[in-house]
Subunit: 340 residues, 2 copies
C-alpha cells in the first residue's frame, strides 16, 4: 500500500471523487470575468452582519451548506471538514463551521490553504478514514486588509505589484465514488524563502514556492508540462507569473502553454483596478469550485495541476522586518472518464 | 479498508508507531514538577534571538531536530511535517520549519493543535502516505500574551481562572514500525460553543468540547473510562477540570480515577503563581513528549486517551465581543506490547 511517489508526492491507489462544489463571492468578484460561474454573489460586503469578520464566517457557512446540498447529502454525513482562512487564529472557520456540528481540522497555509484542504480531504477519503469529507476556505477584502495591511479608512495607495484579496468562499465535498472529477495525487509543498520582505508584492514571495512544487510534481510523477491540460496557480498575479516563468526557465521547464492563475482569472485587472490580480484563500477556492471543476466535469480538460500558493507572513512578522516565505500545495485533478 | 468507527473516530488497521519525541522548554517550565523530564531547558526566554517570536521558532526547530536525531533519522527522511502554534498566521512554524526543507502542512487548532497534528500524522503513516512523519507544536508566554491579551509591560492582574502559556515546543516522529508506542485510533473534535466570552477563563471555554470528544470516544470505541489507564486533557486547568467532571456527570460518565491534565502537571500552581494551570500549544506537546510517552514506552500505562484542548479566539473576535468556542482533538496511544 505504498502510495508515496518520488520525494514529495502521493499517487492515490483509490482516488477521491469531488462530488460537488460551491462558490459564494462579493460584489467586486461578481462584476469580474467569472461572474456567470459563481453560485451566489453578495452585493453587501457585510452580508447584513455586524462586521466583516462575521460576514466571512457567514460566507463560509453558505458555501459549504450549498456544496453539501449539491452532493445530495445532509451536513451530518460529513465525516471530517478541512477548513481555513486568513484571519488570525482562523476564526472565520471557527465561527462559520460550528453550526455543522461535525469534526473539523482547521488549517493555515495562507492563500495555499485550499490546496492543503483538498489534499488532506483526498487523503482521508482514499485512506478509508471518511466516506464524505469537505474542503472549504474563505477570505474577505475587509478582514484581510485590516489583518495584514492598513485600515481601509486610511485609503493608502497600492503599488502595481499589490493584489486584491478576494471576498469569497469556495467549498468542495469529496467522497469514495460518484463524481465526475477525481483527485488522483498530490504534491505537498515545502516552505521556500527567497528573502523577499514586501507584503505588497506577494506574487514575488510565492513564485519560488510555486516553482519548487511544480518542478517536484513533474519529477515525482515523471510528467512533462504537456501532460497537464492546465497548470493553475492560486494567486501569483501578473508579477508572480513572470517570476515563476523565469525560475522554471532556469530548470528548462516551460509551462507557458498550460499556465493559468486564479488571481488573473477572477478580476479584469485593468477595468477593475485590481493591479497584479486577485489573492486570498477565497481566490483559488472560488475559482476552483466555479470555473476549474466544471471544465474537468465536462471533459474540456482531462488533467489539471491545481496549486494554491501562500505567502507566510503576519502583521507581527512583517513589522519585525522578517522575510515572507512562500508555500504551494498541489493537487492533481482529473476528469473521471480519464481514470484507469 | 473501512477504518471509520462510530460517528467521529478512526480505528487504524495499521497503527502508526511513535518512534521518538523531544521537548524544549523555558525557565519557568524548567522549575516546575516536570523539570527532570524535559530534554532541554532554556534560561533565556529569547534564546538569544531578537524577539520572542523568533525564539519560539528556534524552539520548534530545536525540538524537531532533536526528535529526528533520537529516531536515528535525517531531516531529509521526513515525508510530511504537521505543525502549528498560536501566533497569528502560524508564523512560528513558518520560520521554525523552513530549514528542514520538507513538505509542511500547517495547522491551527489553538491549544488542541498537537492532537490535530498527531492525528493527521498517524493517518498519513497508516494510510501509506508517509514512511516518516512528524508532529510539532509550540507556544511562548511572551508571544501569546502579546497576541491575545495585554503587553507584558502593562503588568495586568490575572484572575485565578487564568492559565499561564507554556514556553516550549514538543515534537514527535511517527513511522510504520519500530517504536514502543502506537497510535491506534483518533476521535476528531467538533467545534463546541457554550457561549463563554472570557479569554482569562479558557478552561471554561474548552471544557464542553473536551466533554464532547471524551464522550464520543467512549461511544465510538465502545469503551468505559476504566479501559484507559489515563485520560489526559491538554490545558483545562483547575477551573476547566471541575466543569468537565460536572458535564460528564450529566452523561453518567465518571473519569475522575483516570483523569490528568497537562496544564496541571507542568506547573506547581501554588508555588509558581500560575493560577489555574499551564496552557498553550506547547503545554500538551511538551508534556506528551516528555512525560506521557515514556510511561507508555515502559509499560507503566497500557492505553491513554490524550486530548489536547483548544480555545478558538483571536484578539479581533474577542474585541468584537464574540464567544470563545472550544475544540478537543483526541488520540488513542497504547504501549506497543499491548497491541494485538
Amino acid at each position: 500500500m505504498n502510495q508515496m511517489l518520488g520525494k514529495q508526492s502521493i499517487c492515490f491507489e483509490q482516488p477521491a471523487y469531488v462530488l460537488s462544489s460551491a462558490s459564494v463571492v462579493g460584489k467586486k468578484e461578481g462584476e469580474g470575468p467569472l461572474k456567470d460561474y459563481f453560485d451566489k454573489i453578495h452585493e453587501d460586503p457585510a452580508l447584513g452582519e455586524e462586521n466583516w469578520e462575521t460576514a466571512e464566517s457567514a460566507m463560509q457557512k453558505e458555501a459549504l451548506e450549498l456544496a453539501v446540498q449539491k452532493a445530495g447529502l445532509q451536513n451530518s454525513q460529513l465525516r471530517l471538514i478541512f477548513s481555513g482562512d486568513l484571519q488570525a487564529q482562523s476564526v472565520a472557520s471557527s465561527f462559520g463551521l460550528q453550526g455543522f456540528e461535525r469534526p473539523v481540522y482547521q488549517l493555515y497555509g495562507a492563500c495555499s490553504t485550499m490546496g492543503e484542504a483538498l489534499g488532506l480531504a483526498a487523503m482521508s477519503v482514499s485512506g478509508g478514514y471518511a466516506d464524505y469529507t469537505a474542503a472549504v476556505t474563505s477570505s474577505h477584502f475587509g478582514t484581510a486588509e485590516k489583518e495584514f495591511r492598513f485600515p481601509l479608512e486610511y485609503g493608502n495607495q497600492r503599488p502595481l505589484s499589490a493584489t486584491w484579496t478576494v471576498t469569497g468562499s469556495g467549498a468542495c465535498v469529496l467522497g469514495k465514488e460518484g463524481g465526475k472529477v477525481v483527485v488522483t495525487g498530490i504534491t505537498s509543498g515545502k516552505i521556500v524563502d527567497y528573502g523577499f520582505k514586501d507584503s505588497l508584492n506577494m506574487g514575488a514571495c510565492m513564485a519560488p514556492a510555486a516553482c519548487d512544487t511544480i518542478y517536484q510534481n513533474l519529477q515525482d510523477f515523471g510528467r512533462k508540462p504537456g501532460d497537464y491540460d492546465r497548470i493553475i496557480t492560486g494567486d501569483l498575479g501578473q508579477v508572480g507569473q513572470k517570476i515563476l516563468f523565469d525560475l522554471l526557465k532556469e530548470k528548462n521547464v516551460d509551462i507557458s502553454s498550460q499556465y493559468m492563475d486564479c488571481g488573473l482569472l477572477i478580476f479584469d485587472n485593468e477595468k477593475q483596478d485590481t493591479h497584479s490580480g486577485g489573492s486570498g484563500c477565497g481566490c483559488s477556492a472560488t475559482v476552483f469550485s466555479s470555473y476549474i471543476l466544471p471544465k474537468l466535469e465536462d471533459g474540456t480538460w482531462k488533467r489539471v495541476l491545481f496549486l494554491p500558493t501562500g505567502a507566510l507572513l503576519s502583521k507581527v512578522s512583517f513589522n519585525e522586518g522578517r522575510t515572507i516565505p512562500g508555500v504551494a500545495q498541489a493537487v492533481v485533478v482529473e476528469s473521471a472518464q480519464e481514470e484507469k
